[in-house]
Symmetry: C2
Subunit: 189 residues, 2 copies
Protein backbone atom coordinates (compact mmCIF):
# COMPACT_ATOMS: atom_id res chain seq x y z
CA UNK A 1 0.00 0.00 0.00
CA UNK A 2 2.63 2.50 1.00
CA UNK A 3 6.01 2.05 -0.67
CA UNK A 4 6.68 5.78 -0.34
CA UNK A 5 5.67 5.80 3.35
CA UNK A 6 7.81 2.73 3.90
CA UNK A 7 10.86 4.64 2.60
CA UNK A 8 9.88 7.75 4.55
CA UNK A 9 9.76 5.78 7.83
CA UNK A 10 12.99 3.86 7.13
CA UNK A 11 14.86 7.08 6.34
CA UNK A 12 14.20 8.43 9.86
CA UNK A 13 14.03 5.42 12.16
CA UNK A 14 15.07 1.78 12.50
CA UNK A 15 11.85 -0.07 11.87
CA UNK A 16 11.27 -3.82 11.32
CA UNK A 17 9.37 -5.25 8.36
CA UNK A 18 6.64 -6.56 10.71
CA UNK A 19 6.29 -3.12 12.29
CA UNK A 20 5.86 -1.46 8.90
CA UNK A 21 3.24 -4.08 8.00
CA UNK A 22 1.44 -3.42 11.27
CA UNK A 23 1.57 0.35 10.69
CA UNK A 24 0.22 -0.08 7.16
CA UNK A 25 -2.62 -2.33 8.36
CA UNK A 26 -4.05 0.72 10.19
CA UNK A 27 -4.01 3.00 7.14
CA UNK A 28 -7.00 3.70 4.92
CA UNK A 29 -6.31 4.67 1.31
CA UNK A 30 -8.41 7.44 -0.16
CA UNK A 31 -8.42 9.35 -3.41
CA UNK A 32 -9.37 13.03 -3.46
CA UNK A 33 -10.18 14.68 -6.78
CA UNK A 34 -8.82 18.13 -7.59
CA UNK A 35 -10.80 20.84 -5.72
CA UNK A 36 -12.51 18.23 -3.50
CA UNK A 37 -12.19 18.67 0.29
CA UNK A 38 -10.56 16.04 2.46
CA UNK A 39 -11.55 18.02 5.58
CA UNK A 40 -14.23 20.65 6.13
CA UNK A 41 -13.89 23.49 8.63
CA UNK A 42 -16.18 22.75 11.61
CA UNK A 43 -15.91 18.96 11.53
CA UNK A 44 -13.37 17.15 13.72
CA UNK A 45 -10.13 16.19 11.95
CA UNK A 46 -10.10 12.44 12.68
CA UNK A 47 -6.91 11.61 10.77
CA UNK A 48 -3.42 12.60 9.81
CA UNK A 49 -2.95 12.03 6.06
CA UNK A 50 0.23 10.81 4.36
CA UNK A 51 0.28 12.06 0.75
CA UNK A 52 1.08 9.19 -1.61
CA UNK A 53 0.41 11.19 -4.76
CA UNK A 54 -0.70 14.73 -5.57
CA UNK A 55 -0.82 18.03 -3.74
CA UNK A 56 -3.18 19.42 -1.08
CA UNK A 57 -3.52 22.68 0.80
CA UNK A 58 -4.90 23.50 4.25
CA UNK A 59 -6.45 26.92 4.72
CA UNK A 60 -8.68 29.04 6.94
CA UNK A 61 -11.25 31.62 5.82
CA UNK A 62 -11.35 34.89 7.78
CA UNK A 63 -14.36 37.05 8.73
CA UNK A 64 -14.07 38.91 5.40
CA UNK A 65 -14.17 35.69 3.37
CA UNK A 66 -10.44 35.84 2.57
CA UNK A 67 -8.54 32.52 2.45
CA UNK A 68 -5.23 32.10 4.33
CA UNK A 69 -3.12 29.08 3.44
CA UNK A 70 -1.56 27.30 6.39
CA UNK A 71 0.27 24.56 4.52
CA UNK A 72 0.88 23.03 1.12
CA UNK A 73 1.55 19.29 1.14
CA UNK A 74 2.98 17.19 -1.70
CA UNK A 75 3.97 13.51 -2.01
CA UNK A 76 5.98 12.14 0.90
CA UNK A 77 4.56 14.64 3.42
CA UNK A 78 1.80 14.54 6.03
CA UNK A 79 -1.11 16.98 6.23
CA UNK A 80 -3.84 17.52 8.87
CA UNK A 81 -5.52 20.13 11.03
CA UNK A 82 -3.22 18.99 13.80
CA UNK A 83 -4.78 21.09 16.56
CA UNK A 84 -8.21 19.65 15.76
CA UNK A 85 -6.74 16.13 15.48
CA UNK A 86 -4.87 16.25 18.80
CA UNK A 87 -7.72 17.81 20.76
CA UNK A 88 -10.53 16.16 18.77
CA UNK A 89 -12.25 19.55 18.49
CA UNK A 90 -13.87 21.12 15.37
CA UNK A 91 -11.35 22.02 12.67
CA UNK A 92 -10.59 25.67 11.94
CA UNK A 93 -8.98 24.61 8.64
CA UNK A 94 -10.22 23.13 5.38
CA UNK A 95 -8.02 20.68 3.48
CA UNK A 96 -8.52 20.67 -0.30
CA UNK A 97 -6.81 18.77 -3.11
CA UNK A 98 -4.94 21.13 -5.46
CA UNK A 99 -4.33 18.15 -7.82
CA UNK A 100 -5.97 14.71 -8.04
CA UNK A 101 -4.42 13.08 -4.98
CA UNK A 102 -4.11 9.81 -3.10
CA UNK A 103 -3.69 9.83 0.69
CA UNK A 104 -3.22 7.23 3.42
CA UNK A 105 -5.28 8.13 6.50
CA UNK A 106 -4.31 7.22 10.06
CA UNK A 107 -6.92 7.90 12.72
CA UNK A 108 -6.45 9.34 16.20
CA UNK A 109 -7.11 6.24 18.35
CA UNK A 110 -5.03 4.05 16.03
CA UNK A 111 -2.07 6.42 16.22
CA UNK A 112 -2.23 6.34 20.04
CA UNK A 113 -2.27 2.49 19.88
CA UNK A 114 0.64 2.45 17.44
CA UNK A 115 2.80 4.69 19.68
CA UNK A 116 2.50 1.93 22.30
CA UNK A 117 3.16 -1.06 20.05
CA UNK A 118 5.85 0.52 17.79
CA UNK A 119 7.96 2.74 20.09
CA UNK A 120 10.10 3.90 17.12
CA UNK A 121 7.10 5.94 15.98
CA UNK A 122 7.63 8.31 18.92
CA UNK A 123 11.03 9.12 17.40
CA UNK A 124 9.58 9.33 13.88
CA UNK A 125 6.87 11.83 14.85
CA UNK A 126 9.24 13.66 17.24
CA UNK A 127 11.50 14.40 14.26
CA UNK A 128 8.56 15.34 11.98
CA UNK A 129 7.02 17.71 14.55
CA UNK A 130 10.41 19.21 15.41
CA UNK A 131 11.01 20.00 11.72
CA UNK A 132 7.46 21.27 11.20
CA UNK A 133 7.82 23.48 14.29
CA UNK A 134 11.11 25.06 13.22
CA UNK A 135 9.91 25.68 9.67
CA UNK A 136 6.64 27.25 10.90
CA UNK A 137 8.60 29.40 13.33
CA UNK A 138 10.86 30.56 10.49
CA UNK A 139 7.84 31.29 8.30
CA UNK A 140 6.25 33.31 11.12
CA UNK A 141 9.51 35.23 11.58
CA UNK A 142 9.70 35.97 7.85
CA UNK A 143 6.06 37.07 7.83
CA UNK A 144 6.76 39.53 10.64
CA UNK A 145 10.14 40.80 9.51
CA UNK A 146 10.79 40.64 5.74
CA UNK A 147 9.01 41.97 2.66
CA UNK A 148 6.57 39.95 0.58
CA UNK A 149 9.03 40.08 -2.36
CA UNK A 150 11.77 38.53 -0.22
CA UNK A 151 9.35 35.90 1.09
CA UNK A 152 8.36 35.05 -2.48
CA UNK A 153 12.03 34.65 -3.36
CA UNK A 154 12.61 32.40 -0.34
CA UNK A 155 9.62 30.26 -1.35
CA UNK A 156 10.66 29.74 -4.97
CA UNK A 157 14.24 29.00 -3.91
CA UNK A 158 13.20 26.46 -1.26
CA UNK A 159 10.29 24.89 -3.21
CA UNK A 160 10.77 25.64 -6.93
CA UNK A 161 8.37 22.83 -7.86
CA UNK A 162 5.49 24.45 -5.95
CA UNK A 163 5.21 27.35 -8.41
CA UNK A 164 4.65 24.89 -11.26
CA UNK A 165 2.00 22.92 -9.40
CA UNK A 166 0.02 25.49 -7.43
CA UNK A 167 -2.11 28.33 -8.91
CA UNK A 168 -0.64 31.79 -8.21
CA UNK A 169 -3.78 32.79 -6.31
CA UNK A 170 -2.83 30.19 -3.67
CA UNK A 171 0.82 31.30 -3.60
CA UNK A 172 -0.39 34.88 -2.92
CA UNK A 173 -2.67 33.62 -0.16
CA UNK A 174 0.22 31.64 1.40
CA UNK A 175 2.36 34.81 1.41
CA UNK A 176 -0.48 36.86 2.88
CA UNK A 177 -0.72 39.25 -0.08
CA UNK A 178 -3.23 39.93 -2.87
CA UNK A 179 -2.83 38.24 -6.29
CA UNK A 180 -2.26 41.74 -7.74
CA UNK A 181 0.70 42.35 -5.38
CA UNK A 182 2.15 38.98 -6.33
CA UNK A 183 1.86 39.87 -10.06
CA UNK A 184 3.77 43.11 -9.45
CA UNK A 185 6.48 41.24 -7.52
CA UNK A 186 6.83 38.65 -10.32
CA UNK A 187 7.01 41.36 -13.03
CA UNK A 188 9.85 43.11 -11.22
CA UNK A 189 11.94 39.89 -11.07
Amino acid sequence: MGELLNKNLSALIDIKKEEIEKFESFLIKRTVSKKQNLLNHGSVCRFVAFINKGCLRSYSVDANGIEHITQFGVENHWIADLYSFLNQTPATLNIEAVEDSEVLLLDFSNLEKLYKSIPGLERYFRILFQNAYTSTQRRLNSTLSISAADRYNELITSYPELIRRVPLIHIASYLGITPESLSRIRKRL
Copy 2:
Protein backbone atom coordinates in the same frame (compact mmCIF):
# COMPACT_ATOMS: atom_id res chain seq x y z
CA MET B 1 18.56 20.57 40.83
CA GLY B 2 15.34 20.45 38.91
CA GLU B 3 12.22 19.80 40.98
CA LEU B 4 10.13 21.72 38.48
CA LEU B 5 11.63 19.82 35.52
CA ASN B 6 11.08 16.57 37.41
CA LYS B 7 7.35 17.35 37.67
CA ASN B 8 7.26 18.53 34.06
CA LEU B 9 8.72 15.21 32.84
CA SER B 10 6.53 13.07 35.11
CA ALA B 11 3.38 14.88 33.94
CA LEU B 12 3.99 13.77 30.34
CA ILE B 13 5.77 10.41 30.50
CA ASP B 14 6.41 7.41 32.72
CA ILE B 15 9.97 7.96 33.86
CA LYS B 16 11.95 6.15 36.56
CA LYS B 17 13.77 7.90 39.39
CA GLU B 18 17.15 6.68 38.01
CA GLU B 19 16.27 8.07 34.58
CA ILE B 20 15.41 11.49 36.01
CA GLU B 21 18.70 11.46 37.92
CA LYS B 22 20.57 10.54 34.74
CA PHE B 23 18.79 13.30 32.81
CA GLU B 24 19.60 15.84 35.53
CA SER B 25 23.26 14.83 35.60
CA PHE B 26 23.56 16.23 32.05
CA LEU B 27 22.08 19.63 32.90
CA ILE B 28 24.08 22.75 33.62
CA LYS B 29 22.49 25.39 35.85
CA ARG B 30 22.95 29.00 34.83
CA THR B 31 21.63 32.32 36.07
CA VAL B 32 20.92 35.13 33.61
CA SER B 33 20.40 38.64 34.92
CA LYS B 34 17.63 40.84 33.55
CA LYS B 35 18.55 42.22 30.09
CA GLN B 36 21.54 39.83 29.79
CA ASN B 37 21.68 37.57 26.73
CA LEU B 38 21.69 33.79 27.04
CA LEU B 39 22.24 33.48 23.26
CA ASN B 40 23.63 35.96 20.73
CA HIS B 41 22.55 36.05 17.09
CA GLY B 42 25.37 34.65 14.95
CA SER B 43 26.72 32.13 17.46
CA VAL B 44 25.57 28.49 17.39
CA CYS B 45 22.80 27.64 19.86
CA ARG B 46 24.45 24.73 21.69
CA PHE B 47 21.65 24.10 24.20
CA VAL B 48 17.95 23.88 24.87
CA ALA B 49 17.15 25.71 28.11
CA PHE B 50 14.54 24.68 30.68
CA ILE B 51 13.40 27.75 32.63
CA ASN B 52 13.48 27.07 36.35
CA LYS B 53 12.74 30.66 37.34
CA GLY B 54 12.14 33.93 35.51
CA CYS B 55 11.15 34.96 32.01
CA LEU B 56 13.10 35.15 28.74
CA ARG B 57 12.35 36.18 25.18
CA SER B 58 13.79 35.09 21.84
CA TYR B 59 13.83 37.65 19.05
CA SER B 60 15.29 38.54 15.67
CA VAL B 61 16.31 41.98 14.45
CA ASP B 62 15.36 42.89 10.87
CA ALA B 63 17.29 44.94 8.29
CA ASN B 64 15.71 48.14 9.66
CA GLY B 65 16.81 47.38 13.22
CA ILE B 66 13.30 46.43 14.34
CA GLU B 67 12.97 43.57 16.85
CA HIS B 68 10.51 40.73 16.25
CA ILE B 69 9.74 38.47 19.18
CA THR B 70 9.58 34.78 18.34
CA GLN B 71 8.79 33.43 21.80
CA PHE B 72 8.34 34.36 25.44
CA GLY B 73 9.29 31.66 27.92
CA VAL B 74 8.46 31.51 31.63
CA GLU B 75 9.06 28.92 34.37
CA ASN B 76 8.29 25.33 33.39
CA HIS B 77 8.93 25.93 29.66
CA TRP B 78 11.87 25.36 27.32
CA ILE B 79 13.47 28.02 25.13
CA ALA B 80 16.12 27.84 22.35
CA ASP B 81 16.86 28.86 18.78
CA LEU B 82 15.75 25.38 17.81
CA TYR B 83 16.72 25.62 14.14
CA SER B 84 20.25 26.65 15.09
CA PHE B 85 20.37 23.94 17.80
CA LEU B 86 19.19 21.11 15.53
CA ASN B 87 21.39 22.06 12.59
CA GLN B 88 24.28 23.43 14.68
CA THR B 89 24.34 26.53 12.45
CA PRO B 90 24.62 30.21 13.52
CA ALA B 91 21.55 31.46 15.40
CA THR B 92 19.22 33.96 13.74
CA LEU B 93 17.70 34.70 17.16
CA ASN B 94 18.88 36.35 20.36
CA ILE B 95 17.65 35.08 23.72
CA GLU B 96 17.48 37.68 26.50
CA ALA B 97 16.29 37.53 30.09
CA VAL B 98 13.24 39.77 30.67
CA GLU B 99 13.57 39.10 34.45
CA ASP B 100 16.44 37.70 36.52
CA SER B 101 16.23 34.05 35.51
CA GLU B 102 17.62 30.59 36.23
CA VAL B 103 17.86 28.03 33.44
CA LEU B 104 18.98 24.40 33.10
CA LEU B 105 20.95 23.88 29.89
CA LEU B 106 21.04 20.62 27.94
CA ASP B 107 23.53 20.46 25.09
CA PHE B 108 23.07 18.96 21.63
CA SER B 109 25.29 15.87 21.87
CA ASN B 110 23.99 15.06 25.35
CA LEU B 111 20.38 15.23 24.17
CA GLU B 112 21.17 12.80 21.33
CA LYS B 113 22.80 10.45 23.88
CA LEU B 114 19.84 10.76 26.24
CA TYR B 115 17.33 9.88 23.49
CA LYS B 116 19.16 6.54 23.21
CA SER B 117 19.47 5.77 26.92
CA ILE B 118 16.06 7.10 28.06
CA PRO B 119 13.60 6.18 25.25
CA GLY B 120 10.72 7.93 27.09
CA LEU B 121 12.36 11.23 26.15
CA GLU B 122 11.35 10.66 22.52
CA ARG B 123 7.73 10.74 23.70
CA TYR B 124 8.37 13.73 25.97
CA PHE B 125 9.89 15.85 23.22
CA ARG B 126 7.40 14.51 20.64
CA ILE B 127 4.60 15.95 22.78
CA LEU B 128 6.46 19.24 23.42
CA PHE B 129 7.27 19.78 19.72
CA GLN B 130 3.75 18.78 18.69
CA ASN B 131 2.28 21.38 21.04
CA ALA B 132 4.83 24.03 20.05
CA TYR B 133 4.10 23.34 16.37
CA THR B 134 0.32 23.67 16.71
CA SER B 135 0.56 26.82 18.79
CA THR B 136 3.01 28.43 16.33
CA GLN B 137 0.74 27.44 13.44
CA ARG B 138 -2.22 29.06 15.21
CA ARG B 139 -0.18 32.20 15.90
CA LEU B 140 0.84 32.38 12.22
CA ASN B 141 -2.80 31.95 11.18
CA SER B 142 -3.88 34.72 13.56
CA THR B 143 -1.09 36.98 12.28
CA LEU B 144 -2.30 36.49 8.70
CA SER B 145 -6.04 36.61 9.30
CA ILE B 146 -7.15 38.63 12.34
CA SER B 147 -6.63 42.21 13.52
CA ALA B 148 -3.93 43.26 15.99
CA ALA B 149 -6.66 44.19 18.51
CA ASP B 150 -8.11 40.67 18.34
CA ARG B 151 -4.63 39.15 18.63
CA TYR B 152 -3.96 41.29 21.70
CA ASN B 153 -7.23 40.05 23.21
CA GLU B 154 -6.31 36.44 22.45
CA LEU B 155 -2.91 36.94 24.10
CA ILE B 156 -4.20 38.49 27.32
CA THR B 157 -6.92 35.82 27.57
CA SER B 158 -4.49 32.93 27.03
CA TYR B 159 -1.56 34.38 29.03
CA PRO B 160 -2.92 37.03 31.43
CA GLU B 161 0.25 36.81 33.52
CA LEU B 162 2.45 37.85 30.59
CA ILE B 163 1.10 41.41 30.55
CA ARG B 164 2.14 41.87 34.17
CA ARG B 165 5.66 40.52 33.58
CA VAL B 166 6.67 41.76 30.15
CA PRO B 167 7.13 45.44 29.10
CA LEU B 168 4.50 46.63 26.62
CA ILE B 169 7.19 47.36 24.04
CA HIS B 170 7.86 43.59 23.86
CA ILE B 171 4.15 42.75 23.70
CA ALA B 172 3.85 45.12 20.71
CA SER B 173 6.86 43.50 19.05
CA TYR B 174 5.35 40.01 19.62
CA LEU B 175 2.12 41.16 17.96
CA GLY B 176 4.03 42.73 15.06
CA ILE B 177 2.76 46.28 15.73
CA THR B 178 4.28 49.54 16.99
CA PRO B 179 4.07 50.47 20.71
CA GLU B 180 1.85 53.43 19.66
CA SER B 181 -0.64 51.09 17.97
CA LEU B 182 -0.70 48.89 21.08
CA SER B 183 -1.41 51.96 23.25
CA ARG B 184 -4.37 52.87 21.04
CA ILE B 185 -5.70 49.29 21.24
CA ARG B 186 -5.38 49.26 25.04
CA LYS B 187 -7.12 52.65 25.37
CA ARG B 188 -10.10 51.44 23.35
CA LEU B 189 -10.61 48.38 25.59
